[in-house]
């Protein structure tokens, strides 16, 4: 495995997809060769007062154009700064980081919630098996048309304005979806629901987790999650999300 590098890279484009959600393409020649779906990069702010890099998942990898796509939501001052990036600007970036999804199974169920949806796109593209894709939104939807190229898309919205009213689990039940492998990314309550659903139905599941990070490379122990077994590296019931994760098998972790 080659290592992540920190360097300044060029912004190819940065457009608003939906209110507060942005679509950023970066020129990333040295990164694309090793990048895998489910991995992330960390972006640095230009404002020297905001020291820590912001982890953002890889949404798409374009090997022909040597570029990567990130889709992010403006949450605080860092992502607000990113939203003002223009074509041709340079941004400091480190990546690809972490362990991504393992491609396996013959019938996959991809489950994304909110800003956890983007990392599933490259996965959907690379998975050659049969796929059902469930996307959960609060109200406004984004990226759903990108997913339609790669599988059957089912949508849930909290207000029921599009698709099933409720959450992703409601949409799975409403459409009787089955699978032998689940891939999921989204807020922790959603992941808890997916983990439980997978356990009850004896389906193997890979979950992508999130935690506040500092180093992003496994040294500072900021980003741990609880593990079912004593972890090989930490020697306690903790795994590093930035290093062993962000993707874990559901039975490896406690949510």
């Amino acid at each position: 495995m080659s290592i992540a590098i920190k360097k300044s890279i060029r912004v190819l484009k940065n457009l608003m997809l939906e209110e507060g959600v942005y679509d950023l393409w970066l020129e990333a020649d040295d990164m694309v060769a090793d990048a895998r779906p489910g991995q992330f990069v960390s972006l640095y702010c230009n404002d020297g007062g905001r020291l820590l890099p912001r982890p953002i998942s890889i949404c798409e990898i374009d090997r022909d154009k040597s570029s990567i796509r990130l889709v992010y939501r403006v949450l605080g001052k860092g992502t607000e700064e990113f939203s003002r990036l223009k074509t041709g600007d340079l941004i400091d970036c480190i990546g690809p980081l972490g362990r991504g999804f393992t491609l396996e199974g013959s019938k996959a169920l991809l489950i994304g919630g909110g800003i956890g949806i983007p990392p599933l796109l490259e996965l959907a593209k690379q998975l050659s098996c049969e796929k059902d894709i469930v996307l959960g939104y609060r109200d406004l939807t984004f990226l759903e048309n990108d997913f339609k190229k790669y599988g059957n898309v089912y949508i849930s919205t909290e207000d029921g304005s599009i698709g099933t009213k409720g959450n992703v689990i409601d949409a799975i039940k409403a459409n009787n979806l089955t699978a032998d492998i689940i891939y999921a990314c989204g807020p922790t309550p959603m992941l808890k629901g997916v983990k439980e659903y997978a356990e009850v139905n004896h389906i193997k599941a890979q979950l992508s987790l999130e935690e506040r990070m500092a180093c992003g490379i496994g040294a500072c122990l900021a980003c741990v999650c609880q593990s079912t077994e004593v972890d090989h590296h930490t020697n306690v019931h903790n795994k590093r999300i930035c290093k062993e994760g962000p993707v874990f098998y559901a039975d490896e972790i406690v949510l």
Binding site: A4, C215, G218, C220, V224, N235, V236
Partner: protein, 305 residues
């Protein structure tokens, strides 16, 4: 460049240059060895090591603040056995000095870890009596000068290696704690550990860190580090390892001129994984630019004037 001396000496241990890593920001060097040539560092200072594995605090463990960050990792570490079996051999494969940071919940635990590590091939032990993030041990020992002196002299009995006492900045008079460490028999002192801070998440109307409080580090604390190193240097004769907000060579030089013999790079590693090497380059460039042939000439040089 060849006739420039970067070598420094602390308690009979010589270091190829004055730059080490700040405990807890560099693991045991493994992760950063992909980015940094560890052979170039004066020393690697490890994450705190305790007698048995410690799971640390709940998450969130870090929060960004303007020009700095708060952490409440809670001294998660795999314990001294795994450290000796796995991390130490890794570090031994490099041509750099090894400083092991020691933590405990009781005086006995500090002594036991010190004894275990003294039997190993390490160069120095840094006794962390200043961690603000654990309920027992840590800072509880570091804020009262009498306890600083007592624990120093206890640990010293078990230490077959020179010991560095790591001081807390969360005190009214740093000179007093520095003197207490010296009186207890410390071979050197290091400062500053993090400053206790707090951040509130106004959307959730609660503490951002699960531990409520955390230790502030990064460039925001550098002026405090410089002032405290200066005060400590004027209070004791033992050497000082300085840390606190060093981002580049110029920052390190400030700490050296205030009185530090060595300087540790901490939070900067998170912002730039190559920070340690770049700090060394920065110091060398400064010396070249100013015709300084020996780094030792700069240590505490402001005091003379």
């Amino acid at each position: 460049m060849n006739d420039m001396n970067m070598k420094v000496n602390i308690a009979g241990v010589s270091f190829k240059n004055p730059i080490t890593t700040a405990s807890g920001t560099f693991g045991s060097g493994m992760e950063y060895s992909d980015y940094v040539d560890l052979n170039r560092l004066g020393a690697v200072t490890t994450k705190g090591v305790s007698l048995v594995p410690w799971p640390g605090n709940p998450t969130p463990r870090v929060a960004e603040t303007y020009g700095g960050m708060l952490n409440a990792i809670g001294l998660q570490n795999p314990g001294v056995d795994v450290f000796i079996k796995r991390d130490l051999p890794f570090l031994k494969s490099f041509d750099t000095r090894i400083i092991v940071n020691v933590v405990g919940k009781t005086e006995e635990e500090y002594c036991e870890v010190t004894e275990r590590l003294s039997a190993c091939d390490v160069d120095m032990l840094e006794i962390n009596i200043s961690c603000p993030n654990v309920k027992e041990g840590g800072i509880a020992f570091g804020q009262d000068p009498r306890r600083v002196e007592a624990i120093t002299s206890q640990v010293k009995k078990y230490a077959k290696k020179p010991i560095i006492i790591k001081l807390s900045p969360n005190v009214t008079d740093i000179a007093e704690t520095a003197k207490a460490a010296e009186a207890g028999g410390a071979d050197a002192i290091s400062l500053i550990n993090t400053l206790t801070g707090m951040k509130i998440d106004i959307e959730r109307r609660t503490f951002l860190l699960a531990n409520k409080v955390g230790g502030l580090s990064g460039p925001a604390i550098k002026p405090i580090a410089v002032r405290m190193i200066y005060q400590a240097a004027n209070a004791v004769t033992i050497p000082i390892i300085g840390m606190g907000g060093v981002m580049d060579g110029e920052d390190a030089l400030e700490l050296i001129m205030a009185g530090a013999t060595m300087v540790a790079v901490g939070t900067a590693n998170f912002i730039n994984p190559r920070a340690t090497e770049e700090v060394i380059d920065g110091i060398e460039a400064y010396m070249l630019r100013n015709n300084i042939s020996d780094i030792n000439d700069l240590i505490g040089c402001v005091s003379g004037g």
